[in-house]
């Protein structure tokens, strides 16, 4: 079959506080491969690794990639990226590519939560909670550690009740103490877990209400993988939420689509330069460098 467009591919790489993700899309913006892995302390090595894995999955070489956009908390630490774009813009683009009518997106990651207002696929307003662990994935991890449970298991157990307890404290550390005291009072575990989910969700929804929540609402981020959280989100919002099949990669997907848009724009203006000089394996760990 003859292909009208040349075989061009584009990549987005999202270095989050907890997880790193890479997505490769083709000239139509369709996803060819994605990879998710833990970030760890060395952002740059991690960037190389997820990129290599994604290329391998797509059966491509780096030279097949026309343009790379990096995003996320560690976006400055991707030496082979052509452009950096914030995770807010990338998430909005990624979510809108999956759900074109989306008006509100709520993303809860490992260390932050964000609420995006989207119109016609474009980010128009946003709020973030990035000063405090309450209302983030970290809160869930602390609760899981306290209870000695795995995160997934925790979600399923929470579904066994309709009587969540009220966790009054919004502070992660104080909430942990509250969980312990509830346990010692003999409160059933499902009630406590459902209460934990409601507490985080309430915190994030409070943020979302400042921007006025309009349906359809899409829920993304690592935390959206948890069934208990999805149920709590729908309960607190009072409306259904849409969750992508892979809620972790919307940022990287948006970055890849923006990479495609960017490359096409440059090609149109005849300003596109083949990225031969930017190779993988160039990650140099230099802490003396000014790259915060």
């Amino acid at each position: 079959m003859e292909n009208a467009t040349p075989a061009l591919f584009f990549a987005g790489i999202d270095i989050g506080s907890t997880m790193s993700k890479a997505v490769i899309v083709d000239a139509d913006g369709a996803m060819r491969a994605y990879v998710v892995g833990p970030t760890g302390a060395e952002h740059r090595l991690r960037a190389n690794r997820v990129m290599e894995d994604a290329l391998q999955k797509a059966v491509l070489a780096l030279d097949d990639i026309a343009y790379i956009v990096s995003t996320g908390y560690g976006r400055v630490n991707v030496p082979f990226a052509d452009k950096q774009i914030t995770e807010l813009t990338c998430h909005a683009r990624g979510v809108a590519s999956l759900f074109p009518n989306v008006k509100t997106a709520i993303d809860i990651g490992g260390q932050d939560a964000k609420v995006l207002k989207i119109r016609n696929g474009r980010l128009i307003d946003f709020l973030t909670n990035d000063k405090c662990a309450a209302g983030t994935g970290r809160f869930l991890e602390v609760a899981a550690e306290t209870l000695g449970l795995d995160l997934n298991e925790m979600g399923h157990i929470s579904l066994q009740t309709d009587m969540p307890v009220k966790i009054n404290s919004l502070c992660t550390i104080f909430a942990q103490q509250e969980i312990i005291s509830r346990l010692s009072e003999g409160t059933p575990l499902p009630d406590i877990l459902a209460g934990v989910y409601i507490a985080i969700t309430t915190r994030v929804v409070k943020l979302a209400r400042q921007l006025k929540v309009e349906p359809p609402v899409v829920f993304t981020g690592g935390v959206a993988k948890n069934v208990g959280m999805v149920k709590a989100m729908e309960t607190v919002l009072g409306m259904p939420v849409l969750v992508p099949q892979e809620p972790l990669i919307t940022g990287a997907l948006g970055a890849a689509i923006l990479a495609r848009d960017q490359a096409f724009q440059l090609i149109q203006k005849d300003e596109y330069r083949v990225r031969r000089d930017k190779k993988l394996g160039e990650a140099i760990i230099d802490f003396g460098e000014k790259s915060r």
């Binding site: 914030t86 807010l88 813009t89 980010l123 946003f126 973030t128 915060r292």
Partner: protein
């Protein structure tokens, strides 16, 4: 005698790096240096009595360690930074300190200074009403009068009408020159960056008014003739909020492909937009500081005391000066910044954002704790905001 040989922007850069330097020199030469906090102590009276007004700022790069003895962490970190520096002896070149009841913590800070810092022999607190109607202006005039009498006593000389008039004219001239400097930011790209502007402004608060005017003239000439103009950026922003005396926020914004072209802060336009009007008496000072100076600490309701709801009229009465800035400087977005725990500014934010919406100006609200470290997480939000403007 001015010991430095640099001029214009590089001189401002030097003064910004060591604000107290010139004041220490002048003090050695026998001048009295009177520190003041916030914008409400009338500097004209200090200048007219032969003394040097010196605006007291905090230091965002200095961790607050000593202030815990005199205040808890639940109050304005900017004012805590000031008392912290005071306790560490960093303002030991001041002969006096004047504060005003701009906000509650601003007032108690002066008392704490008197009780704990103790360096300066002269301390004075001016009570400032929180509304701008006629009886409030009369009351404020009385407060300015008692400040005048107290400072006369300290200076050992009387304030004559002539001296006050001359001082008002000097300060008005400074205000006019600053407005002229701001005009140079109306072009696209602006002829000077917000960082350069702030360095000049902070210098003005650190120098006698005549020397400040001289610096402004040098800077204006230099900027008009400069070849190395700032780069054109994607967005033209207005920055709003309480004191911002450190270039770090402006550097952060300008690194995100945006130029800050105008502001509504008390280190910028608020300090220099209103002149003292003839006949340059105490009533004119009261009018200038309480009515013409626009800071959220004074509530500018359209009908004073009226409780019937006329939201749009009130919004207009409180914020219409911003509309002019938005038009004149061709602003494409606004960054509202505030320091943590500032209820004075916090109260304004939802209404102001609404007002900016009606003008079609997108805005973002960011909060920091008056430390350079607390600005890092803001970077992503500022960048994303600039991306939404594209």
């Amino acid at each position: 005698m001015v010991t430095t040989t640099t001029k214009g922007l590089s001189r401002a850069h030097e003064i910004y790096a060591d604000r107290g330097n010139r004041a220490r020199e002048l003090r050695k030469a026998g001048k009295k240096i009177v520190g003041y906090i916030c914008l409400y102590p009338p500097v004209e009276i200090i200048t007219a009595l032969g003394m040097v007004p010196f605006r007291v700022f905090g230091d965002m790069s200095e961790p607050i360690t000593a202030a815990d003895q005199v205040s808890t962490t639940v109050v304005c970190p900017f004012l805590r930074s000031i008392i912290d520096l005071g306790l560490k002896g960093k303002f030991n070149f001041l002969d006096g300190i004047v504060g005003a009841h701009t906000c509650d913590i601003g007032m108690t800070l002066v008392i704490s200074w008197r009780d704990y810092v103790k360096d300066a022999p002269f301390t004075h607190l001016i009570d400032v009403p929180h509304t701008d109607h006629a009886p409030a202006v009369d009351y404020f005039e009385g407060q300015i009068n008692s400040f005048k009498r107290h400072l006369e006593e300290f200076a050992g000389e009387k304030l004559t009408g002539d001296k006050l008039k001359r001082a008002c004219e000097l300060h008005n001239r400074q205000r006019r020159l600053v407005r002229e400097l701001y005009d140079l930011r109306k072009s696209d790209p602006p002829l000077l960056t917000s960082t350069e502007t702030l360095e000049v402004l902070v210098s003005l608060f650190s120098l006698p008014v005549e020397e400040g005017n001289e610096l402004l003239e040098e800077v204006i000439k230099e900027v008009k003739e400069r070849k190395d103009r700032p780069a054109k950026k994607k967005a033209r922003l207005l920055v709003w909020g309480p004191v911002f005396d450190n270039t770090s926020l402006y550097e952060l914004i300008e690194s995100a492909d945006a130029s800050v072209v105008v502001d509504d802060t008390c280190v910028g336009t608020r300090a220099f937009w209103a002149d003292v009007k003839a006949p340059y008496d105490l009533h004119a000072l009261a009018q200038r500081y309480l009515v013409d100076l626009k800071c959220p600490r004074t509530y500018r309701q359209s009908e004073p005391g009226e409780t019937k709801r006329d939201y749009d009229k009130d919004l207009d009465s409180r914020f219409n000066y911003i509309k002019k800035a938005v038009t004149d400087w061709n602003v494409s977005g606004a960054i509202l910044q505030s320091v943590k725990y500032c209820d004075t500014h916090g109260y304004e934010v939802p209404n102001l954002r609404h007002y900016l919406d009606t003008l079609g100006i997108p805005s973002i609200y960011i909060e920091h704790d008056y430390s350079e470290r607390s600005l890092a997480p803001i970077k992503t939000r500022v960048e994303a905001f600039v991306e939404t403007l594209g």
